[in-house]
């Protein structure tokens, strides 16, 4: 398939792996964080880490939108779904995320009308088809997904659809990265920037990483050659003593982002003063809520939402995994008490979660000797 096959060429992959080998200094250990969960899955699906020199370590970042939803927010969604006349809609990934008393799927099995949608536009269609019901879209995701929620809200407003509202748990990517860079737990040498978030925000918002923290960044696509090339770009910057934001994914990411999408985001949403991230705690100005102009479509104002903060289960180490402090197999419950079938933590459930990537692609233990 065009735009895909070209970026899975084994010959080119081997050549790139050879170039990576010549870019690293023997005896030096390199830690590169791939921010996005989509990259984590590409890395293990295609065995990219097996092509890297032993002293290049990939660290998995917090860019999995489902993984960062705290238990209390899941409970809030279930509380809304249980109210009479409500149809709660959400993406498939959300259905199995554990709350303090089960998941959306458990609540659905117990009688709540919770439906999986591919797009918030589908949720709006359900609202049009069910004028006597209240349809709530449980919105999650980074800046990649927020535009679809914003466009849907705009359509709802224009069409005057009164039985539709949004429960907003959208988050932004820069504040958690800053929090990670400020954390003393982690020493990183560079970043693979999130490709699809960057289609919306562009590569420019990541300039603070080289400017304030002196670390190189390469925004990357999701095919194996994209990821390998981005790793090479980061290593070459280190080798040449450069430090900047490079864009590997030029076929998709404009450096300035999608200005129309950014405009609609600023019209429909505003920043919350604080937002709780699962495992990472409260991060200021990291979550979005509906702006004043769209407050009449805000499910949190329309319904009684408990808003109770629930601590993560003690055994769960999703926070350390999301911060890249531990590898998934270093978590005490990985693959034993916590599996994709019976997850304890979010990272094992989501299709973008690091634990799910390790579990699904058979990475049950440290297989590479890291120098």
């Amino acid at each position: 398939m065009k735009y895909v096959d070209e970026f899975r060429d084994a010959e080119l992959g081997r050549a790139l792996a050879g170039e990576i080998l010549t870019s690293v200094e023997p005896g030096r250990h390199y830690k590169i964080m791939e921010v996005c969960g989509g990259h984590t899955h590409s890395i293990y699906k295609f065995g990219i880490d097996d092509l890297l020199p032993a002293n290049v370590e990939l660290v998995h970042g917090p860019g999995c939108p489902v993984c960062v939803i705290p238990m209390g927010r899941v409970d809030d969604g279930i509380a809304v779904a249980r109210q009479p006349g409500v149809i709660l809609t959400c993406f498939g990934d959300m259905m199995r995320i554990p709350g303090s008393d089960g998941s959306f799927l458990d609540a659905k099995a117990a009688g709540a009308d919770i439906r999986m949608v591919y797009s918030p536009l589908d949720a709006l269609r359900i609202a049009r088809q069910n004028p006597d019901r209240e349809v709530v879209f449980y919105a999650i995701g980074f800046e990649t997904t927020a535009p679809s929620t914003a466009l849907t809200l705009k359509r709802a407003k224009i069409e005057g659809i009164r039985n539709f509202s949004v429960m907003c748990s959208h988050v932004t990517i820069v504040p958690p990265l800053r929090a990670l860079l400020d954390s003393p737990d982690l020493r990183l040498d560079g970043f693979i920037g999130p490709g699809h978030v960057s289609t919306v925000v562009g590569a420019r918002p990541f300039e603070f990483i080289p400017a304030d923290y002196g670390k190189p960044v390469a925004v990357a696509g999701f095919e194996p050659l994209d990821v390998l090339q981005a790793i090479h770009m980061v290593l070459r910057q280190i080798e040449e003593g450069r430090c900047e934001v490079e864009n590997q994914y030029t076929r998709v990411v404009p450096y300035e982002g999608n200005l129309r999408a950014l405009e609609i985001l600023s019209e429909v949403f505003e920043l919350r003063p604080h937002f709780e991230w699962r495992g990472l705690g409260f991060i200021s100005q990291s979550g979005l809520k509906l702006s004043e102009a769209y407050a009449d479509l805000d499910a949190e104002l329309r319904f009684d939402v408990p808003g109770v903060r629930v601590a993560d289960p003690k055994a769960c180490q999703c926070g350390e995994v999301l911060k890249g402090v531990i590898k998934p197999f270093e978590c005490k419950v990985f693959g034993t008490a916590c599996t994709p079938e019976r997850p304890i933590g979010t990272c094992m459930v989501s299709s973008e979660g690091a634990c799910a990537a390790y579990y699904n692609y058979g990475r049950f233990a440290r297989e590479r000797e890291v120098v």
């Binding site: 735009y3 797009s119 536009l121 997904t145 535009p147 466009l151 030029t250 076929r251 999608n258």
Partner: protein, 58 residues
């Protein structure tokens, strides 16, 4: 996804993915699209239109 047909007035387009199944996509965030264009779609919304020339150069 590849655009099959587009309606500029509603900013909606029918697009087909790898599986060939058509789906409705909001194309309001990208420049006007026409049948045959390739767009990157996330959650039912086209975020960018792929540039064939860039894809070869990248």
């Amino acid at each position: 996804m590849r655009v099959l047909s587009a309606d500029e007035a509603t900013a909606l387009a029918w697009c087909a993915g790898e599986d060939g199944l058509p789906g409705e996509v909001d194309v309001g965030l990208v420049d006007p699209v026409a049948a045959g264009d390739v767009v990157l779609v996330h959650a039912g919304v086209a975020l960018t239109r792929l540039d064939a020339r860039e894809a070869v150069l990248a």
